[in-house]
Amino acid sequence: MRKKIIEFRNVSFRYGDEQPWVLRNVSFDVYEKEWLAIIGHNGSGKSTIAKLMNGLLFPQEGEIIIDGQQVNDESIWSIRRDVGMVFQNPDNQFVGTTVQDDVAFGMENRGIPREEMIKRINETLSAVGMQEYHMTEPHRLSGGQKQRVAIASVLAISPKVLILDEATAMLDPKGRTEIMSTVSEVQDKNDLSLITITHDLHEVVQAERVIVMNNGEIWDEAVPREIFAKKDELRKIGLDVPFVTILADELNAAGINIEREPLNQEELLEGLWTLHSRT
């Protein structure tokens, strides 16, 4: 049994007394070192979950426990050391005048000694493949590069959980691929729990577990393959299923039954080949 790093217990949240509930009675766990994806349409409550995880917001009902500590006014500073977050807009999260200053910022706030800072700047910038840009001014970077630096800045404070809140939504396809491969390497090396919040189902394939949000409630919680199998229902709640899933569906309608729900093109081709060899 893996250790729970985040627990949501019957959490409800709204932005004001007169406002509608954004989250209703949400309970789930995040385990150590796992990759969890949270998906849902705009306004489904997924970003609110992220903000609750590091005390940017507090729930009106229920409780949130991070690594054994309940999130409250007193615990937020130690919790923010444990939970690092990268947001959607790469231009809104830079403070330093150079890449290395920016990575240093979070560490300075935590009083990390200079020698240790230099070591971590080197380590984290190499981890995201941005070492050669350490003296570059952030505004000269592409969107994907900026997000990689943002990830390095978060890693520098050695969090236990890394949350990417639609961190690829504003990037071009190349930037997206860069981030997703950086993220999966970083997770492997750093024993992190990784939470990716997205509405891009392509980004869900790599995750171990998926939570689907709909109108402030958990709609489903399963492994990616099981989620994709519910394609019609996913479409109904405003999500889009990948090309491979639609094709498998159309093949099914044309009388070709792929035994296992394919997650990617290779799996679909394998399935087709198996059928082909049998005929």
């Binding site: 349409h41 705009n42 306004g43 959607q88 592409s142 969107g143 639609e166 939504a169 504003m170 071009d172 396809p173 190349k174 930037g175 509405h199 189902l201 405003g238 999500l239 889009d240 990948p242 090309f243 491979v244 639609i246 094709l247 159309e250 093949l251 309608a253 044309a254 009388g255 070709i256 093109q265 290779e266 679909l268 081709l269 087709l272 080949w273 059928l275 082909h276 060899s277 005929t279």
Partner: protein
């Protein structure tokens, strides 16, 4: 309106040490009524290109022609305002430009500036509100109380209320969820058809280009790298990979399929259903080792 670029070069901060060529010797022609997709990775010159279409920038060299308007260095068209009423631009994240007290006032701001009479503006708003998928009761609400997707629709309605002949869309679906993306693109496509617009779409999505565009221009380092029909351009995997672009997922799959089964299924912008039927024919056909 026809759009023509003739040997257009644009240099930012010309005659300074920071001079930077964003577009170089660019020529192309877009016939009136086309739906054109402009694709290229970040920094390829796409945004500079579209800024020429309504005279926000004037070419440093060469000439841009939009309908009867000519843009060349040193000779601003006398009727810039008229050009801007004919060419509507939906910028990236257009909801950031909302500012009025109510949705209705925000939509009316553009046409008011172009001197459209008040009752005509009212009439246009009645027509546009359902077309962009907004409920009429929102007209009296503050635009800042709306959801992100609704705010974007309000901003788009403001552009449409000017009744442009050319619609320029700079990544109009960025940041929306999949259903929002599809709804907005379908809406633009319907308007394009119904009103006979000339539409220029800047996008990163090959899938959208395949679905909506009849012509594609691929930009790289400020120059035109490729141009043609989507079904011609999007099968050139090596050429696209060279400029850090990828073929649409469907083409990727068809390539892998051919490699594995030794039988090609040509890409003709067919539906996924049609592809499934072609595959069915091959897979259920002869066994591989006979």
């Amino acid at each position: 309106m026809d759009i023509t670029f003739k040997n257009v070069t644009y240099i930012y901060q010309r005659n300074t040490p920071f001079a930077h060529k964003a577009i170089e010797d660019l020529s192309f022609h877009i016939p009136s009524g086309s739906f054109v997709a402009i694709i290229g990775h970040t920094g390829s010159g796409k945004s500079t290109l579209i800024q020429h279409l309504n005279g926000m920038v004037i070419p440093s060299e060469g000439e841009v022609t939009v309908g009867d308007f000519h843009l060349t260095q040193g000779k601003k068209p006398e009727s810039m305002k008229e050009l801007r009423s004919k060419v509507g631009v939906v910028f990236q994240y257009p909801e950031h430009q909302l500012f009025e007290e109510t949705v209705g006032k925000d939509i009316a701001f553009g046409p008011e500036n172009f001197g459209v009479p008040e009752d005509e503006i009212k009439r246009r708003i009645q027509e546009i509100i359902p077309a962009v998928g907004l409920p009429e009761e929102l007209l009296e609400r503050s635009p800042f109380d709306l959801s992100g997707g609704q705010m974007r629709r309000v901003a788009i309605a403001g552009v449409l209320a000017v009744k442009p002949d050319v619609l320029v869309l700079d990544e109009p679906t960025a940041g929306l969820d999949p259903r929002g993306q599809k709804d907005i693109m379908d809406m633009f496509y319907n308007l394009h058809k119904e009103q006979g617009l000339t539409t220029v779409l800047v996008t990163h999505s090959m899938e959208d280009a395949v679905k909506y565009a009849d012509h594609v221009i691929i930009m790289n380092k400020g120059t035109k790298y490729m141009e043609g029909k989507p079904e011609e351009v999007f099968i050139q995997k090596d050429a696209l990979n060279k400029v850090q672009l990828d073929v649409p997922e469907m083409v990727q799959f068809l390539n892998l399929f051919e490699a594995k089964f030794g039988k090609p299924i040509p890409f003709e912008r067919q539906s996924i259903k049609e592809i499934a039927q072609s595959i069915q024919g091959i897979v259920k056909g002869a066994a591989p080792h006979e």
